[in-house]
Each structure stands twice: as structure tokens, then as C-alpha cells.
Subunit: 209 residues, 2 copies
């Protein structure tokens, strides 16, 4: 297996952490989003959706989309369990994983993309030419603020985000928040539960992935 | 169990079809999005995220987000399998399910919401006050066009979208396309594979859900 990757982006990072938590050391192939490589002819031949991460299997077939990679790896390498080990836990983890993707990674992504000149014409991941929309900078910032509030409230009730143990919900929230910090939307001072949890997840060896 | 629902919206519909395919007849509680009920005080007490669908279990707890409902029901009612019955199939179904949600339902949603006066201040599902952004009408339309192209190409290779049998990937694409048709973004004439497949999935009794 090898992972089509982009070191600075939060979506591939959640695949890297997931693989590392499973103890899998997988070859990484770097494609820069900022330099336009993920939208270039060579990469679109590999993945016409122009997205990273994508996991290339030894038979040459490709698994696209981070959550599809999670499903595949969890089913083929079940330990440690990261997606929930009973129906109710799996559902709660899925809900917080999605919330952290949509209101976290995607919201912070729209804040960042729409003010970044290097991404002109690439308003969203993928091969379509889409204008940057300045109004999305403010919208992304508002959504990120809401994301922090909700996660902070939840982490006042549970030790980890979707469960009482580390799971994919934490991985996605962790990638969202580290990405947010890199683009000046770090953890607000009053979100003390987020700060406490962030210290714990950042101390895991896989946080370096 | 009972399902917090909105009859006209594509996201709750995919939960309704999923439950119907599992043979589960679940009580539905209607909350109008257009009338603002999903953002009203009463519903935000049930689900602070302000989203439908949400599945209320008999113990009073709530499962939020359609994919979390799918996970819960698939694990507790495994037959018929709708999420994939081996790691590779599960990953392919997940990839197309996500593509159909993000580039289908969400893209068509941004086309529709941002030109709909009744949704002023509600640029996205959820309780945050977010302005409508007219530029997203055109972006949503472009993304929907790409969605049709990709799905049409895939359906030239496989009978159903993520597999050779009906799955959650088809359900989400079906809900995206019927929603698109309702807002004047119906199947383009040249997408004959989509039209062929749409006839087949629409003939299933659960399409009425």
C-alpha cells in the first residue's frame, strides 16, 4: 500500500494518524495542494477527483476519501478499534467525526482557501474551476467558532470526543484544530476543555504523523 | 425508535429510504426546515445542532447525522447489507456515498439555499446565523454539473453506483438527484447512464419513502 498525501493538509493527516495508530507504516507520495499538483494532469490520472488522501493498494486499485480508507483499514486491521465496537458507540463516534470534519476541517478550509491567492480558481478541492468567494472567509470563521463551542461543551462531559477512549472522532478534531492554529484560528482562551483534551491527544506518539 | 424528519429535504430522505430497505417502520416526527422549525427553540432542545435526520432511541438518547444512523441500523439490523460486506466493497460504497453527499446533496443544497428568501440568515443547516451568499448559487450549479458527469461515467462501468448491487451509495445519489430535479437541476440529457440507473432505483418500493 502507499498513501497519496499532502503533508500540510488536514484531510490526509487524519489518514496518516489513523494508519499510525494501527501500527501500519505505509509509503507516502507527496502531492502539493498549494502548488497545484493535486489538480495537475499527472495526479488526475491517478485520482480524477483530485483529492488527497487516496490509498493505493498493492493490486493498483485506489481507495479515495479519508472515511473510505478508515473503513477499509478498520475492517482489514481491526486492532486497535478506532470506529466503535458496538452499534451505539459507532454511531456516536461517527456523529462527532462528521461534525469535526464538516464544522471543523471544512469550515476552517473555507476560511483559509478563500483568502489564499495561490488557490485562485480552486475554491474547493477537486478539478472543477471554482472562484474564491471572499464572503466565505467570514462564514468559515463563524463556523469554526461554533465548532469550538460545541466540542468544548462535549469535552466537559466525556474524556474524549465521541467516546471515553481515543477514536477517529478525536483524530479528525485534532487535525481540524491543528490546521486552525496554523491559520490563526487557535483554541479560544475560554475553551478550557478543548485545551485539556488537546494536550492529551497531542502527547500521543502518532500526533507527529 | 422515532425519526426526526423533514419530508422535503434530501438528507432525512436518505434515512427514510435506508430504514425502509431494512424493513423498519419507524414513527416520523416532522420539523419544517423552510418554516424555521429545525432552528426553533423546541427542536434545538432535542438536537442543538439543528439538523435532521436524528433518530431517537427508545431510551430517549439521540443519534445525529444520517451516516451515524446508517452505522447504527446496519450493525443492529444487518440484513439486507447496505454498507458493504467486505473491506474493499465497503470502501468503494463509502467513497461514492460521500461523493454523492458532498458534490450531490451539499452542492445542490448550496445552489438552492442561497437563492431562497425563506432561508435568509440560514446559509447552512444548523443554529448559526449565516448570511446567504449569492455567488454560491453559481458554484452549486457548477458542482452539480460535475457530480452528474462523474456519476454518469461510473454508471457506464457498474450497474449500481458503489457496487454491483443497490447500496447506500445509490440511496444518497438518488436523494441528491430527486432533490436536484425538484429545484430545476434535473438529469442532463447526455447523462444516459444516470437516466437508466435512475429508472431502476426509482422503481424500488422504498423510493416512495
Amino acid at each position: 500500500m502507499r498513501l497519496h498525501d499532502c503533508q500540510m493538509a488536514p484531510n490526509p493527516r487524519r489518514a496518516r494518524i489513523f494508519l499510525a495508530e494501527k501500527g501500519l507504516d505505509v509509503e507516502k507520495v507527496e502531492h502539493s495542494i498549494l502548488d497545484g499538483e493535486t489538480n495537475g494532469e499527472a495526479y488526475l490520472k491517478i485520482n480524477p477527483w483530485g483529492t488527497v488522501p487516496a490509498l493505493e493498494l498493492d493490486d493498483g486499485s485506489l481507495i479515495r476519501e479519508a472515511p473510505a480508507i478508515f473503513r477499509y483499514i478498520e475492517a482489514s486491521h481491526p486492532s486497535p478499534n478506532l470506529l466503535g465496537d458496538n452499534p451505539r458507540e459507532a454511531a456516536e463516534i461517527e456523529a462527532w467525526e462528521r461534525f469535526s470534519e464538516i464544522q471543523g476541517i471544512s469550515a476552517i478550509g473555507e476560511y483559509f482557501r478563500n483568502q489564499t491567492e495561490a488557490l485562485t480558481g480552486r475554491g474547493l478541492p477537486g478539478p472543477s474551476e471554482l472562484d474564491l468567494i471572499p464572503a466565505l472567509v467570514e462564514r468559515g470563521q463563524k463556523r469554526a467558532a461554533w465548532f469550538y463551542e460545541e466540542v468544548n461543551e462535549q469535552l466537559g462531559k466525556t474524556e474524549y470526543l465521541g467516546s471515553n477512549r481515543y477514536s477517529i472522532a478525536d483524530i479528525t478534531a485534532q487535525c481540524a484544530i491543528d490546521f486552525a492554529s496554523a491559520v490563526s484560528l487557535g483554541i479560544p482562551d475560554h475553551c478550557t476543555n478543548v485545551a485539556r483534551w488537546h494536550k492529551v491527544v497531542s502527547a500521543r506518539p502518532t500526533a507527529a504523523a
